[in-house]
């Protein structure tokens, strides 16, 4: 924010006047361009006629209530899938993050009290488990989430397991986002000042207790903005349910288009719905981020404590929302 103010002088009266004149002219040019390049072709094809828009925006239209009832169902299904996927991926993500930290801890142990073959076996086992979890994380993080959902929907029936399409979508989303959330939490825990862990060990907590009672709550707090942005991603990704024909908003939109033949209008409404919900979620993330930053500053006892970089990292993470 402060950076931007530094890049140029605050414009004086003349500069402001120039800016105003220039903007007015530019706005006119752009409006003219839009009129001739967008509005006129669309109007000639009748895209602004009430016949196409009516069912979506005119309450008097015969199809209005029917259409919005369907959209309501779609929105409900989208939200159900999103909430289930969010809860499941938070749980899975936390478990995986704790597991990976525990395995890292286990790798440090030398199992000295045991006979040599047993200790070598145990060390090999813990190494193998670490490699396995690492590979799983890398694979599921590297696969497109569309592909994961598609594989779940096609792969599970191969093994004779069938669910509702809702569950394929939720499982697919959970696999991907669970792994991403696990990585967010893990980087949050590893970014904490080492003193936290050392102090916990010094008062006699076991590694698991240390992680669960000391590191994890702090990681959640620091990474909250990044976590919320990931939730926006989950909400956006539920729209992928249409490829496995789950009845979410987009699929409903397709049905409406099939009945009424108004793709541009319907997708405009759907886009507005998505933007409204996601925009408020990202605003919430920004608000929480500001609150966190302020909380750190006013707490003040630790001053510019070592947690500051971690908060900044989280803020940066929230800034670049992982797309889809």
């Amino acid at each position: 924010m402060s950076q931007q103010a530094v890049l140029y002088d605050v414009p004086g009266p003349r500069q402001r006047r120039y800016t105003q004149i220039f903007s007015a002219v530019a706005a006119l040019v752009v409006l003219a361009g839009l009129y001739f390049l967008v509005y006129k072709p669309l109007d000639e094809k009748g895209q602004f006629s009430l016949e196409l828009w009516g069912p979506l925006i005119d309450p008097g239209n015969e199809n209005f209530s029917q259409v919005w009832k369907r959209i309501g169902i779609g929105a409900k299904n989208t939200l159900i899938a999103a909430v289930l996927a969010i809860v499941a991926s938070l749980v899975i993500g936390t478990l995986v993050a704790v597991l990976r930290l525990q395995l890292k801890e286990l790798n440090r142990r030398r199992f000295t009290g045991l006979a040599a073959p047993v200790s070598i076996l145990l060390r090999g086992l813990s190494l193998a488990l670490t490699a396995l979890t690492r590979a799983c994380v890398e694979i599921f993080r590297g696969l497109p989430v569309v592909i994961t959902i598609f594989f779940v929907a096609r792969g599970f029936p191969e093994f004779g397991i069938t669910f509702d399409t809702l569950w394929y979508l939720v499982i697919g989303l959970t696999i991907y986002n669970g792994v991403v959330i696990a990585e967010i939490l893990r980087s949050g825990m590893e970014g904490l000042p080492p003193g936290q862990r050392e102090a916990a060990v010094a008062i006699g907590l076991s590694p698991l207790q240390t992680t669960v009672t000391i590191l994890l709550p702090q990681a959640f707090r620091i990474m909250l903005p990044a976590l919320i942005s990931q939730l926006v991603v989950v909400l956006k990704d539920t729209s992928l349910g249409f490829i496995i024909s789950y009845e979410e908003l987009l699929n409903i939109g397709k049905q409406i288009i099939g009945a009424l033949g108004n793709p541009i209008q319907t997708y405009t409404i759907i886009a507005v719905l998505f933007i409204a919900v996601n925009y408020s979620l990202s605003k919430l993330a920004q608000y929480i981020q500001r609150r966190l930053a302020r909380g750190r500053k006013t707490a003040g006892v630790t001053g510019r404590g070592p947690t500051a970089p971690a908060v900044q990292a989280a803020a940066a993470g929230a800034d670049e929302v992982n797309p889809v």
Partner: protein, 236 residues
């Protein structure tokens, strides 16, 4: 597992097509994203508002909706995106020049969507340059453009490279959607083709496709991790 060997050319063809759209979309999104980023930090308020509006719209919309808009909106505007049939380039990226416009539509959607994220990555880099640098440049009398060109951007580039990399990785993953939008023959649509029409078992095909995507995403991710760690060490 025979399908992996028998149909290697199908997988390779799909991989090649996905790779093509990724390269083109990455170039397009970097250019458009840079423009939007300059708009967002420019001294002219209406331009700033324009950039902010662009980012808000495209960041909060699912890519699927953007693709539908490209597929339905552009034809309604009377365009088949023929301006993308650039003479020399469409000789290398053959799909750009075909009569079926879906590849071009998907490309446009991917560029528009990714550019919003590229803009944010670039902007976070600009914000990471310490304000003293820009202040010093201002006090030397450099204009906004000179300030960006000689002082801020060369430094912000370093801070943006990791977020930019993750945006590109995400874009590669997003490109899997094009197979479900009528672009025939990309990596994700090979699954349908091989298991549906040609009746191969699903699991080996799934493994083949996964390998195709992982080849692109995992090394890039590892490279980014390395760069990030080196930068962290350098910052200490």
């Amino acid at each position: 597992m025979n399908v992996l060997i028998d149909k290697f050319d199908v997988f390779a063809g799909g991989f090649w097509l996905t790779f093509q759209i990724c390269i083109l979309a990455a170039i397009g999104a970097l250019i458009l994203g840079a423009v939007v980023a300059v708009l967002r930090i420019s001294p002219v308020p209406p331009l700033r508002a324009l950039g902010t509006a662009y980012v808000t719209v495209f960041r909060n919309m699912p890519l699927t909706v953007v693709m539908f808009f490209a597929a339905f909106g552009l034809p309604a505007l009377g365009s088949n995106a023929n301006f993308l049939r650039i003479p020399v380039i469409d000789a290398i990226f053959t799909r750009l020049g075909t009569d079926l416009p879906y590849f071009r539509f998907a490309l446009i959607a991917l560029i528009l969507y990714t550019a919003a994220f590229v803009c944010e990555a670039l902007r976070s880099g600009v914000n990471a340059v310490s304000p003293g640098q820009a202040e010093a440049a201002r006090s030397l009398g450099l204009t906004f453009g000179q300030n960006l060109r000689y002082v801020v951007l060369p430094q912000s580039w370093k801070a943006s490279i990791v977020p930019l990399g993750s945006v590109i990785i995400a874009m590669i993953k997003n490109s899997a959607l094009i197979g479900f939008f009528g672009v025939v023959g990309d990596l994700s649509s090979t699954a349908d083709q091989l298991t549906g029409a040609e009746g191969y078992a699903f699991i080996p095909v799934a493994i083949g496709i996964s390998i195709g995507y992982l080849i692109m995403t995992v090394p890039l991710g590892a490279l980014l991790d390395r760069i990030e760690r080196r930068q962290a060490v350098a910052a200490r």
